[in-house]
């Protein structure tokens, strides 16, 4: 099937099998390997990307479902300089192995888009969609709260 989709602001037209998963389309057809594969069941959130600004699990989404949609992956976050979320994750060590990190960053961006000033509990509840096996989450929560502050400061400036 022919699909037309916009990924990180670039429009692509490609032929895909109807069964091709979005995560495989991103990784294999577009070489956007920052989106990782974790549980393959839609549980762990590792493969999280944004579709029209909302998180989806690309391991249980078909590429054809992205037809006519806008997809955002981790590769688009840094625009020259790191995104405040990436800066905060680095500063607070909100990662260890880095494998869940792209999904975490995109989920965090959604949490902060919905609520620029969340409480610690709200961040934890929000991140419960995504598994991290390394950090025990504490530093990820710290990083998201730190990023929220950075982004609020930027928005005021």
């Amino acid at each position: 099937m022919r699909i037309a989709t916009t990924v990180n602001g670039v429009r692509y037209e490609r032929d895909v099998e109807p069964r091709t998963l979005l995560v495989d389309f991103l990784r294999e057809d577009l070489d956007l390997v920052g989106t990782h594969i974790g549980c393959e069941h839609g549980v762990c959130g590792t493969c999280t990307v944004l579709m029209n600004g909302e998180t989806i699990r690309s391991c249980i989404t078909f590429a054809v479902q992205a037809d006519g949609q806008e997809i955002t992956t981790v590769e688009s976050l840094a625009n020259g300089a790191m995104h405040p979320l990436q800066e905060a994750f680095w500063e607070k060590q909100g990662l260890q192995c880095g494998y869940c990190t792209p999904g975490m960053l995109l989920r965090a961006s959604e949490i902060l888009a919905e609520n620029p000033d969340p409480t610690r509990e709200e961040v934890k509840a929000g991140l419960a969609s995504n598994l991290c096996r390394c950090t025990g989450y504490a530093f990820i929560v710290d990083a998201v709260l730190d990023a929220a502050e950075r982004m609020r400061t930027e928005a005021r400036a």
Partner: protein, 812 residues
């Protein structure tokens, strides 16, 4: 043993970079989505593999029909286990009797657990490979499954390996000290039966490899996210029937391991075998079911019968431990897991004697391997469960009984009954700090208030060891006549100072797996040379031409790399001083290394920086004395710094895990007596891993390891059907990993009791919170449900189990 046999006691210097929580060098590439994981790599001409897995726990393979699979367009090869066995040797197995429980990359004749690979399919894409796998027809003759480890050990049980003639792969009882005498003299003996069920590392990235066999040169190159291959390359080479000088294993960052990617050979063996068959590069990345059901590394699975002897005053004198460990269908590391346990079997306590009986049983389950703690975390849980039982029996406070039995801070180095030594420690200080952070008066008041309302708040407290830096003996002291009594597990570093003074550190067999090898090495290099850590470049070498290296595991990386960095730096500084002698026209006695350069003692204005010296050695060799060679590079092979051999009668196992950290964990939980849910109100963890290199990095291991420990204690289990041996937890819908909502709010504290024998006094700490959390949580559940008379003797303490305990005790 006398103290003169210890390594020399070091004088630790003031530190600049070691001890700083700097930002990690590793992080930017991961944050940008450019981690370079194995599945991100593509090689021209690469094919993709998928496996046909066994749906049965125990069955004879009667026929395999691959014709339909082979006929599918895009399929390059379909290889059965029998065909694979013609071109590969068995997988590495530390024995005993490796020939009697032969482990192969794909099953031959018989399948021994659900998920075991039976046929490998190679195709132009993973999609086509999986389509073809579905077309393979395998007929089985079903056999009775061996599931329960204690029943498996009995005579007449169906045999997992016919050649062994029994399901008991290893059985022996060791005595250290006068156990019978100490028990006879005891006032009190507490006994219990405890059950630790299997969980595993479950990294979010599975194991993967790309193998490229070059038929022209005979060279096999394997890119993979497993590690620890440099010194033990010959084993994988043997499996693949490749000379080890024609095998190069190139490490990629691992998306988590927790032990489960330590020396994971099956995936590389399958990819390598298929590359030999096809002459094409082959990618094989486990899918999640492969990793849950057919990985190399499930964790420990033990039944314990334990007795602890005490005096009326609560002084622990002796331990009798009998454990049956369910190893699954194969054994790869022997019973090394119990070596880990014996390294710290008596915990932080002055227990005089120990009996340790271990029965390693084979069943129809995936095999055991490594999981964060390597079996010593299980021992911690068992011991702390018994200490709490004794405290209750003697009506002693859990804090008080521990204080009465602690090895005192002035008693180190301290030999425990097994012969291992604890280098240093201050257990009282760790306990005091944890109590200070915990504010138990507040929580006891909250507990009383809650109980009045019919709610159950509990406070757990444990004091546990974290042994670090294993030596090789623990893999063979089990046997009177070991086949391979290896003596050292080395680690190496090469440091190269470029012409402009920039430093590159090359690591061998020490891939990134979520730890911080680059950051840590950079901090150590910066400490030596006074440079900025982020200016250090770190290279992960492949195995080809690699220096001796064992890789991470058993919390060894930091200490071993610190020794290697120190040794290589010393060699560079020696050469730098020789060059400076010439440049400054000074005698060596008048020169000193200071502030990242060489200067004349007392005249810091007469100095040459490392950059000044480096450019001379690289570009102006002929201006230097004859004996100084070009370049400024040095390597150090750092051998295990303190290993002694076991005694012939094995009443003393020698020193094999000498750098021993300590921690106190205090979780505060609320248990819902109706649903069995355990919720964390607070979690206090104080660790002492000697001198810290990067406190925040260690804190990450404490929090991360603790949440893994929460998984082990409450949620995670590979559940096998009691009758048919089917694996019931084949996805993350059923194998439950803690989310942010299950993770507690932490209060982390550090104490630093330096090791007298390691660079800067560092001890390993990478296994972190998983060493203590299961024990601490069990104690907290007991405390919460004390009014109901519940004792948590089994884990994971799932809601169903907790409700069952409450009902068995008469209900809430």
């Amino acid at each position: 043993m006398t103290t003169t046999e210890h390594p020399p006691t070091r004088v630790h210097k003031e530190r600049t970079w070691v001890g700083q929580s700097i930002r990690r060098l590793e992080d930017p590439k991961f944050l940008l989505g450019k981690g370079g994981y194995i599945d991100d790599m593509r090689v021209r001409g690469m094919l993709h593999a998928a496996l046909v897995r066994s749906p049965h726990a125990h069955a004879r393979i009667t026929s395999i029909d691959t014709s339909a699979a082979k006929a599918l367009p895009g399929v390059f090869a379909v290889v059965t286990g029998a065909e694979a066995a013609e071109i590969t040797n068995p997988m590495p197995d530390f024995g005993p009797a490796a020939d009697k429980h032969v482990w192969r990359c794909l099953a031959v004749d018989k399948v021994r657990y659900v998920g075991e690979g039976v046929v490998a399919v190679l195709a132009e894409s993973r999609y086509v490979a999986e389509d073809a796998a579905d077309l393979v027809r395998v007929e089985y003759d079903l056999l009775e499954a061996v599931v329960d480890p204690e029943k498996a050990a009995r005579d007449g049980a169906p045999l997992v390996h016919d050649a062994l003639g029994s399901n008991v792969a290893y059985e022996r009882t060791f005595q250290f000290g006068d156990v019978d005498g100490d028990f006879a003299a005891a006032d009190v003996v507490v006994k219990d039966r405890l059950r630790w069920r299997r969980s595993g590392g479950q990294p979010l990235e599975t194991v993967g490899a790309i193998a490229s066999f070059d038929r022209g040169t005979g060279m096999m190159t394997i890119n993979t996210n497993t590690l620890s291959f440099t010194s033990y390359l010959f084993m994988l080479a043997g499996t693949l029937q490749i000379p080890d000088n024609k095998l190069d294993v190139i490490p990629h960052p691992a998306g988590g391991s927790f032990g489960s990617k330590l020396f994971a050979t099956k995936v590389s063996a399958i990819a390598g075998m298929l590359s030999k068959v096809s002459g094409r590069p082959v990618k094989y990345v486990e899918d999640r079911i492969d990793n849950l059901a057919n990985c190399d590394h499930h964790g420990s699975d033990r039944v314990y019968d334990v007795e602890l002897a005490l005096t009326r005053a609560g002084i622990m004198t002796s331990l009798r431990i009998k454990t049956v460990d369910d190893y699954g269908a194969y054994i790869q590391f022997g019973v090394g897991h119990h070596g880990n346990a014996l390294a710290q079997v008596t915990g932080p306590y002055r227990i005089k004697s120990v009996e340790y009986g271990v029965t390693a049983v084979l069943t129809n389950k995936c095999q055991q391997g490594a999981y964060r703690g390597f079996g010593s975390e299980v021992n911690n849980w068992m011991l702390e469960r018994m200490v709490d039982m004794a405290a209750k029996e003697l009506d002693l406070d859990p804090v008080e009984i521990r204080r009465r039995n602690f090895i005192g801070k002035d008693e180190f180095p301290y030999f425990i009954p097994t012969g291992n030594v604890y280098d240093s420690g201050d257990y009282e200080a760790v306990l005091d700090k944890a109590l200070e952070l915990a504010d138990l008066d507040h929580w006891r008041a909250e507990q009383a208030k809650a109980r009045a309302e019919g709610r159950y708040i509990g406070i757990g407290l444990v004091t546990c060891q974290e042994r670090s830096v294993f030596s090789a003996t623990e893999f063979w002291f089990w046997f009177d006549e070991p086949a391979a009594p290896v003596t050292s597990m080395p680690e190496s570093v090469t440091l190269r100072v470029g012409a402009l003074g920039d430093i590159t550190a090359t690591l061998y067999s020490c891939a990134f797996w979520g730890n911080s090898p680059e950051t840590m090495v950079a901090q150590l290099v910066a400490e030596e040379f006074g440079c900025e850590p982020h200016a250090v470049s770190v290279v992960y070498a492949g195995t080809r031409n690699g220096l001796p290296a064992t890789g991470p595991g058993g919390s060894r990386t930091t200490v071993m790399l610190a020794g290697a960095v120190e040794g290589a730096a010393e060699r560079i500084k020696d050469k730098a001083i020789k060059v400076a002698e010439h440049l400054l026209e000074a005698s060596p006695d008048d020169l000193e290394w200071a502030d990242g350069g060489v200067q004349v003692k007392g005249s810091p204005e007469q100095r040459k920086s490392l950059g000044d010296i480096a450019i001379q050695t690289h570009l102006f060799k002929h201006s230097l004395p004859e004996e100084i060679e070009s370049g400024l590079e040095a390597s150090k092979v750092y051998d295990h710094p303190y290993t002694t051999m076991p005694s012939a009668d094995r009443k003393n196992l020698g020193v094999f895990y000498p750098f021993v950290g300590h921690a106190c964990h205090i979780p505060i939980v609320e248990v819902d007596a109706q649903t069995g849910e355990v919720r964390f109100l607070k979690y206090i963890a104080v660790h002492d891993c000697g001198t810290l290199v990067n406190p925040r990095s260690l804190a990450g291991h404490i929090t991360g390891g603790t949440v893994q420990g929460i998984g082990t204690a409450l949620h995670e289990e590979y559940v096998y059907g009691a009758e048919d041996g089917n694996l019931l937890t084949q996805s993350y819908m059923d194998y439950l990993i803690p989310t942010a909502m299950e993770a507690p709010e932490f209060v982390i504290g550090h104490c630093e009791t330096p090791s007298p024998w390691t660079p800067h006094g560092i001890k390993g700490g990478g296994e972190g919170g998983r060493m203590m959390a299961p024990a601490a949580i069990a104690a907290a559940i007991d405390d919460a449900l004390a009014p109901l008379g519940v004792r948590a003797t089994e884990l994971p303490a799932t809601p169903a189990r907790i409700v069952g305990w409450i009902e068995a005790a008469g209900g809430a």
